[in-house]
């Protein structure tokens, strides 16, 4: 019994490695210095999908991503690790989408790919940090959702059993398929690239990327159809244009402030006995402690 699995994945700026050069001298974020990466929890989701593929022969795993053309990179990356292919949903009309407009767009793409057995997503993307897209897609596709998944324990008789990681413990839940499962960072890490798959898929490209490719390769895409990454624009999804991008987003960003660490006047001390003695005396005297 093979499953048809879709993995929602997002390319994100690597906000975790805000190193020296990633902050400008005025304390603001230098976005250009942040590399674009596969959203970490989406890799956890991919791993859960690939495990099901290992268990159930005939299973297919496809990435669905909405983003700029370069987001095709994460589809390729997923193919190097074992995914069968992917769909890049890209259009200017999607720009400025909040989570509602994002989930609307993704749900149209997903419905176009129906029927499917399972949609996996990361719990949260590290740039927007909202964890809203998974449940919203589930609602729009009208299927149940299981969030905060740590492990898919079984898929049997049309039901999926999942261990969830909550703040203070775990929960094991069962849902009928199809459903949406969002995967938590405590789940198993994603496997590395497989060298055979990397060789096989290294020329995987979207049609727009292909147009920039030298002609000598063109035959390759006739003989190896999996190398063509499907690209969908807004028109391909037949959307209500009022629900896309900035127009379709009920939330508006009013202002954005960059976090600037402002230096306080701090008292500088050494570990010497006299400094430590004086510090404790001072804290006791001003009733901070004691």
């Amino acid at each position: 019994m093979g499953l048809k699995i879709l993995v929602l994945a997002k390319q994100v700026p690597d906000t975790r490695n805000v190193g020296q050069d990633a902050m400008k001298p005025d304390g603001t974020v230098n976005r250009a210095a942040l590399p674009a990466i596969f959203n970490p929890e989406d890799l956890n989701a991919l791993e859960q999908a690939l495990r099901l593929k290992d268990t159930f022969p005939g299973t297919t795993v496809h990435i669905v991503t909405m983003g700029p053309p370069r987001a095709a990179e994460i589809i390729r990356e997923a193919m190097f690790r074992g995914a069968d292919g992917g769909y890049l949903v890209t259009d200017r009309a999607f720009a400025g989408a909040d989570t509602l407009a994002t989930s609307y767009t993704l749900s149209l793409a997903v419905k176009k790919l129906a029927p499917f057995d399972l949609i996996l997503a990361g719990r949260q993307a590290i740039d927007g940090d909202t964890a809203q897209v998974g449940p919203q897609v589930a609602d729009k596709v009208a299927v149940p959702q299981i969030t905060y998944a740590e492990e898919i324990q079984s898929v049997k008789d049309g039901k999926i059993r999942v261990k969830r990681r909550l703040e203070r413990g775990i929960e094991i839940v069962e849902s009928p398929l199809p459903c949406v499962v969002t995967v938590h960072s405590s789940a198993a890490e994603c496997r590395f690239r497989n060298s055979k798959l990397t060789m096989k898929n290294k020329h995987a490209k979207t049609l727009s990327e292909l147009q920039e490719t030298e002609s000598s390769y063109v035959n390759l895409y006739k003989t190896s159809p999996w190398l063509t990454i499907t690209e969908w624009s807004a028109n391909d999804l037949n959307p209500d244009f009022n629900c896309l991008g900035l127009t379709g987003s009920p939330t508006k960003v009013k202002t954005i402030e960059n976090v600037v660490l402002t230096a306080k006047e701090s008292v500088q001390l050494t570990p010497s006995d006299s400094d430590m003695d004086n510090l404790m005396k001072e804290l006791i005297a001003n009733h901070t402690i004691g």
Binding site: T15, R16, V18, V29, D98, L100, D127, G128, D129, T130, A131, Q132, V133, G134, P135, Q136, A138, D139, P144, T147, Y148, R161, R164, L166, E167, R168, E171, I172, V173, E174, S175, P176, P250, T251, K252, V253, K254, T255, I256, E257, N258, V259, L261, A263, K264, V267, Q268, L269, T270, P271, D273, M276, D277, L279, M280, L283, I284, T288, I289, G290
Partner: protein
């Protein structure tokens, strides 16, 4: 109509702290807008709940009580809240940014088509003029939240959709009784709108620990980071916390390395604390960490790197090895309090 709503989270019959914190904030917003505060409690065996909630200034408590509604599952809770929203047309609705609130609120917003702002650190009422259309909006909810990994703070508004919905983490808002004798009204929700399709997801097993530590209530916090080096070495922090009557906390790097348990994590993805004294030991001071402790009254940083970013927000900077400093702090505290 157009009141302020708070979803009450219930775990094992007890109301979650975050819900009481949201009622406190909700009451302030409601008063400012001259609206009422309403709460929605969904679960089992909820009789008497109003006694705990009315003192927070709740004017109307909607109760949906049924065996199948606890423990929490998404679909029935979603259906009930959406139905109440449809009837009552809230102006504002607040949810905890917990595994329950963050599971439920997005699904509700998708149904109602309203905007949702995650993980707000501050909520205020304010006006807005659309920069393009010049249309003016009065009394919007300013939803202020960190994003981009904590490197920016965004103020988000939902000008045209209602309710304006936000989630807030536990510990971010303060919990305060509004009036111990306050009396509201209880409205029983008729659950006959639920059907089998709402209960297709089954909870097979749950193991939820009662939280043992209460960082938020602690006046003194001794927090350790990756620089502490090991779980064993954290005993230096426990010793100091014990003599000072405080609690031990950790950075995410310390938690991820297994030095200290997750429930003690301070920061953006942990607890937000504002003790009288916060002692940061071997913590570099990433924004995700400082987001959870920068409002502490006094901050001491112990770090062997004099340029550690945390030093810029510290009141006292001790440049040195924490292994040397911590025992001395214990020693001189004892000497000076004898």
């Amino acid at each position: 109509m157009n009141n302020v709503f708070v979803y009450i989270e219930i775990e094992d019959g007890a109301v979650a702290d975050v819900s009481l914190e949201l009622l406190t904030k909700g009451k302030k917003l409601a008063n400012q807008l001259e609206k009422k505060l309403e709460a929605i409690a969904i679960g089992f065996n909820l009789q008497g709940l109003e006694k705990e909630l009315f003192p927070y200034g709740v004017d109307v408590l909607h109760v949906a009580d049924d065996k199948r509604l606890a423990p929490y599952t998404t679909l029935p809770h979603n259906k009930i809240v959406c139905e109440i929203f449809k009837r009552e047309q809230p102006e504002i609705a607040l949810f905890g940014a917990s595994s329950v609130g963050r599971d439920l609120a997005p699904r509700i917003c998708s149904t109602t088509g309203s905007g949702l702002t995650a993980d707000c650190t501050s909520l205020e009422i304010g006006d807005h003029t659309d920069p393009k259309t010049k249309q003016e909006y009065k009394n919007l909810l300013y939803q202020i939240r960190p994003a981009f990994g904590g490197n920016i703070i965004a103020t988000i508004i939902n000008p045209d959709t209602r309710p304006q919905i936000a989630t807030v983490r536990e510990g971010v808002m303060k919990k305060e009784i509004f009036d111990a004798n306050y009396k509201g009204e209880v409205k029983k929700f008729d659950i006959s709108i639920l059907n089998d399709a709402d209960f297709v997801v089954k909870v097979i097993e749950r193991e939820i620990e009662k939280s043992k530590v209460n960082l938020k209530a602690s006046q003194v916090i001794v927090a350790g980071g990756y620089g502490v080096g090991s779980r064993e070495n954290f005993k230096l922090l426990y010793e100091l916390a014990e003599v000072l009557g405080g609690e031990v906390a950790g950075s995410r790097a310390a938690v991820d390395s297994g030095f200290v348990d997750h429930e003690r994590q301070v920061g953006q993805t942990g607890v937000t604390v504002r003790p009288k004294l916060y002692i940061a030991c071997g913590i570099s001071g990433a924004v995700q960490h400082t987001a959870g402790m920068q409002e502490s009254s006094i901050i001491i940083s112990i770090n062997n790197d004099p340029l550690a970013p945390i030093n810029t927000i510290a009141d006292y900077v001790i440049s040195g090895d924490l292994n040397e400093v911590l025992p001395k702090m214990v020693k001189y505290y004892k000497q000076n309090t004898k």
